[in-house]
Amino acid sequence: MDDLVWVVQDAYGISIEIFDVDFEATHLRGYLERGEKAASIYIREDQSDFYKRLTITKELVHIVMDEKEDWSVDALTTLDGLIISHVLGEEDDNTDEPDGVIVSERLAVVGAAEILFPREIRAASKKEVDEGKTIKAIASELEIPDAAASWILTERYTELVDTVLASMSD
């Protein structure tokens, strides 16, 4: 995982720089700017290292997975989509087909989750939880936030993965 940045750079021919930024926010964890041949990932400085790993990985997945038709500099529409459209499908009673912003975001979130907490180890982790191991211990071993580990082990996450895979096969 530590080599992910270099792999993405080499495979996609794009130069990637990552920056810690000192600014105050409750919600904004990270920001990706992309040009034709270079990308910058900006991470809010006052987060745990585990959240920084998650944020960077999610933005790297955007670089890997997004096609040109997914690119957008219409930041307001992107933010609106993130806030209003229940990206993670937690309360998704909207039966309309999600637009490209939402599909891109769901793919990035799932991609990051699968890199950091792969499917092939989750069954064993669930068993460990059933046997008394704490989510905190599992998250610590994986170097991801507790909340992320907890969410990835839920049925809700599995349903989101199914949704994402279905959208990719359309």
């Binding site: 920056f19 900006y42 500099v73 933010l79």
Partner: protein, 69 residues
């Protein structure tokens, strides 16, 4: 008339897109379901303020900065 956070952000995004020849911008929001649009616009504004003041530090390698052991 005072500009709204979103109006201000629209202007700043456009400036940044032009200056850096951007083709794509993406955001990672924590707890987006609890966020208000104006608050998030203000947060992005604060990020841009920090970038404008050069209050950011390059992370040389992913491994060196975020390895925890």
């Amino acid at each position: 008339m005072a500009t709204t956070p979103s109006e201000e952000l629209t202007k700043r995004i456009a400036e940044r897109v032009e200056e850096h020849e951007l083709v794509d911008v993406k955001f990672y929001l924590g707890n987006p379901g609890e966020a208000s649009f104006d608050v998030v616009c203000e947060e992005v504004g604060r990020l841009y303020d920090a970038l404008g003041r050069n209050e950011f530090r390059k992370v040389d390698t992913f491994k060196d900065s975020y390895k925890t052991d």
